[in-house]
């Protein structure tokens, strides 16, 4: 469902993402891990069309994000780490706006809006201006908006910031359950324990290069150490010293 072929991005002299080739299947929960500045957000921005790759390509479904960007984006639900929301719209007005962008039927938008706002526990704030929302409520609203058009792929960048423990548990279970129904999730995070708990596959990136792609079990088998955190640190340290 998500394919990158030799995806490369340079910022001036710096190579932020270096020849990334990946494939994430339909219904797969893929976690993208790496230290700060490893190239996770740059990869995500190329996947959603916010950045043009210097070379290589990214496909969502069968659509090249550069060549057929509107069709590709129609399949995506994107939740950035700091989501943009229109401060002077209410939650419900924002959902209606998003429904319009995805050319959804009004009645469908209305019923799904209520369902999602209820699901993410922001229904009672739906008629308040977003400027009055807390950070967690904004995050929940952006989740609701991302799922409004029933996307085939959800790309989410560090989703846990600002969410309370109950919401984190709910979002984890919700995403996992959606993957069973065929949703593909591409998640970038620093929370290793959650990635370990819910991912089908994990990709580790360091200094722009993909260090490994495997299941949690497969990654743990690469080292003697039994803890995922230690393996992650070893792999990224090794890759850093080899690269540098």
């Amino acid at each position: 469902m998500i394919t990158t072929e030799n995806l490369t991005k340079q910022f001036g002299q710096k190579v932020a993402v270096d020849g990334l080739s990946l494939h994430v299947d339909r219904g797969e929960f893929f976690s993208f891990l790496g230290p700060n500045g490893a190239g996770k957000t740059t990869t995500i921005k190329m996947l959603v069309g916010l950045l043009a790759p210097t070379s290589g390509k990214a496909l969502i479904g069968t659509f090249d994000v550069r060549e057929n960007h509107v069709a590709a984006k129609r399949l995506i639900g994107y939740i950035p780490d700091q989501p943009f929301l229109y401060e002077k719209l209410t939650g419900r007005e924002f959902m209606r706006f998003v429904g319009g962008l995805y050319e959804m039927d009004d009645a469908v938008v209305q019923s799904r809006t209520e369902d999602l706002l209820e699901l993410f526990s922001v229904r009672e704030y739906g008629d308040q201006l977003i400027q009055d929302y807390s950070h967690g409520m904004r995050q929940k609203l952006s989740f609701s908006a991302a799922f409004l058009h029933d996307p085939a792929v959800v790309i989410v960048d560090e989703p846990w910031v600002g969410l309370d423990p109950r919401s984190i548990k709910f979002v984890k279970e919700y995403l996992k359950q959606k993957t069973r129904n065929g949703l593909t999730v591409f998640m970038s995070t620093h929370t290793l324990s959650i990635a370990e708990e819910i991912s089908d596959t994990i990709g580790i990136i360091n200094e722009g290069r993909l260090v490994t792609v495997n299941t949690v079990g497969g990654i743990l088998q690469q080292r003697d150490s039994g803890r995922f955190e230690d393996v992650f640190l070893e792999l990224t340290e090794e890759a850093g010293s080899n690269g540098g």
Binding site: K9, Q10, A52, V70, Y86, E93, E103, Q131
Partner: protein, 558 residues
């Protein structure tokens, strides 16, 4: 197109919510602002009406063609007005397009949505068009309305102004957007500097053109008048869209509806053509430039190198807390090219004007004229100072809002933050304004009393206007906004500017009035009284807003 309409509808809803929020503002503040807005518009209308009425009263026999000199000047004036509007719109659209098309989070959001690039551009273009042209509508309507009333124009003339204005505004908006897209696509690495250099070069070219056209030292009064008329003839060039709008509106005023319709068709067809060409450029350059801008590698800035790297050393004499805050403010200001380029333009224009005063020999020997000019220069310097403090100093406290986790938690009283902004403002602005006033006084060879009064006034004004900008900035902060231009355009910023203007008008008014009593025996007493009044007023204008600002900031929640 559906998505464009959807985005516009959403923006309209957002505007409606923002407008509804005005209800939460202080009624006094809204009242003061409304009063001055009406006063400004009314003043412009009365001045235009009187001036055009004066021109209309000229004798027809003065012109061989039968039309009055006044009518000719009036037509040229309107053509000049339309051309100035056109050029201003091109210029402002370049800057607005850059920020509206590339530098907002909303564009990032829409880019990640299933919205085509041309649809996204069209939606944002309307915002550029609105933001660049509303002020022209506000300031242009008094002139156009006066023209219609003075010339007894039919009702259709007033409608035609609106009809002609929209396509006239579209063409420069297209030109501005294309220029911005070209610059971003070609040179994203040096965008800030390029924009600033373009601004400075454009202003310099305009000044050179005006200087060559009106080199008044070599012209007698009659020649000057003819030279002005001749220069203004260029504004009626048939190649300029502004002249089509002027011709169309003027023909409508003269009831030549056929000709007026021709110019309207010409303007509309060219506006549509300009938009089609712009869309072609958009499909090639917009996304490319957007992505390039996001991909620009950041330059390393090494401490200890260059002026900005040595600021800690320059301000080494200050206490560490003040030094840190001042160095931070100066660095942020300098690294935002859109900020300092405006500063350069304001003072550059004023300096060029003052330096050119020596080229005006006709009245140079008249003491009255020299003193009047000195007060005029003082007023101009004060107005520029008020613009600067309102634009650059007022937002400083608001800009700390999002960083209050660091500044607010530092072992530093909030009142010290207010004092730091105040002294930064006084210290910076006084260097420029005092220099300008001394320079103009020396060039004009004004008498010592006027020079002393001018210097005293500008020094006091630096304190008062800085006190008001910082004080009002602390009283009416906007901690959610990171863009200084948007902070200024709020109610607090407008109120600060209006109160600053009132203060300037009173301060200069009483001194200008004082000179009427030069020959009276009680002049010395009056002079002492006026000086005491100006000092008291300035002290109140400095310290009252500062005290209120400190009180508000101490109570503020973050």
């Amino acid at each position: 197109m559906d998505k464009v309409l959807l985005i516009w509808a959403t923006k309209t809803r957002i505007a409606a919510h923002a407008l509804a929020d005005v209800r939460n503002e202080s009624r006094l503040k809204i009242g003061v602002i409304l009063f001055f807005v009406i006063l400004l518009w009314g003043g412009a209308f009365v001045a235009s009406y009187e001036a055009l009425g004066f021109l209309k009263s000229f004798d027809p026999s003065q012109s061989p063609s039968g039309s009055t000199i006044g009518a000719i000047v009036m037509v040229r004036m309107l053509s000049l007005f339309f051309m100035m509007v056109f050029l201003m719109l091109v210029f402002s659209n370049v800057l607005i397009a850059f920020s509206t098309l590339y530098r907002t989070e909303e564009v990032d959001y829409l880019m990640a949505s299933p919205v085509g690039v041309c649809e996204l551009f069209t939606a944002r273009f309307a915002e550029c068009l609105f933001m660049s042209s509303w002020a022209v509508v506000f300031l242009g309507t008094p002139l156009m309305l006066s023209y219609g009333l003075v010339n007894d124009a039919p009702w259709f003339f007033y409608l035609s102004i609106l009809l002609f204005y929209l396509p006239l505004a579209v063409i420069p908006a297209c030109i501005g957007a294309v220029i911005a897209m070209l610059i971003v696509a070609i040179s994203p690495q040096i965008r800030g500097r390029v924009f600033a250099a373009l601004v400075v070069l454009t202003v310099a070219a305009l000044l050179a053109y005006l200087y060559r056209t009106f080199n008044i030292e070599r012209l007698s009064e009659a020649e000057l008048f003819l030279a002005m008329l001749d220069a203004m003839k260029g504004t009626q060039s048939p190649l300029l869209p502004s002249s089509w709008a002027a011709e169309g509106v003027l023909n409508c005023a003269g009831r030549n509806f056929g000709r007026s319709a021709f110019y309207f068709g010409l303007l509309v067809s060219n506006a549509l053509m300009a938009f089609v060409v712009t869309l072609a450029v958009v499909s090639k350059l917009y996304y490319r430039g957007y992505s390039l801008l996001k991909s620009t590698g950041s330059r390393r800035r090494i401490s200890g190198r260059g002026i900005l790297g040595r600021l800690d050393w320059v301000f080494g004499f200050l206490r560490p807390q003040y030094r840190s805050l001042i160095v931070k403010d100066v660095r942020l200001f300098w690294r935002d090219a859109t900020q300092w380029s405006q500063f350069v333009i304001f003072f550059g224009l004023m300096a060029v004007y003052v330096a050119n005063l020596r080229n005006v020999p006709t009245y140079r020997d008249s003491l009255l004229w020299r003193n009047a000019t000195a007060f005029l220069n003082l007023s101009s310097s004060a107005l520029i100072l008020a613009t600067l403090t309102s634009r650059f100093i007022f937002p400083l406290i608001s800009l700390e809002g999002r960083r209050f986790w660091i500044v607010g938690l530092a072992p530093l009283a909030r009142s010290k933050l207010v004092w730091q902004k105040f002294w930064l403002s006084v210290g910076t602005c006084i260097c420029f304004t005092l220099g300008l006033v001394i320079l103009s006084s020396v060039i004009l060879r004004v008498e010592p009393l006027i020079m002393a009064l001018s210097i005293m006034t500008i020094v006091l004004m630096n304190f008062a206007l800085s006190g008001m900008a910082v004080g009002f900035g602390a009283m009416y902060p906007n901690f959610k906004e990171d863009n200084p231009a948007r902070i200024v355009s709020g109610m607090g910023g407008t109120l600060n500017f209006l109160v600053s203007i009132i203060y300037i008008a009173v301060t200069i008014g009483v001194q200008a009035g004082l000179l009427q009593f030069r020959t009276y025996h009680f002049f010395g007493l009056l002079l002492a009284g006026v000086i005491a009044f100006v000092i008291t007023l300035s002290a109140a204008a400095t310290f009252v807003p500062l005290a209120l600002g400190m009180r508000a900031l101490n109570k503020a929640d973050f």
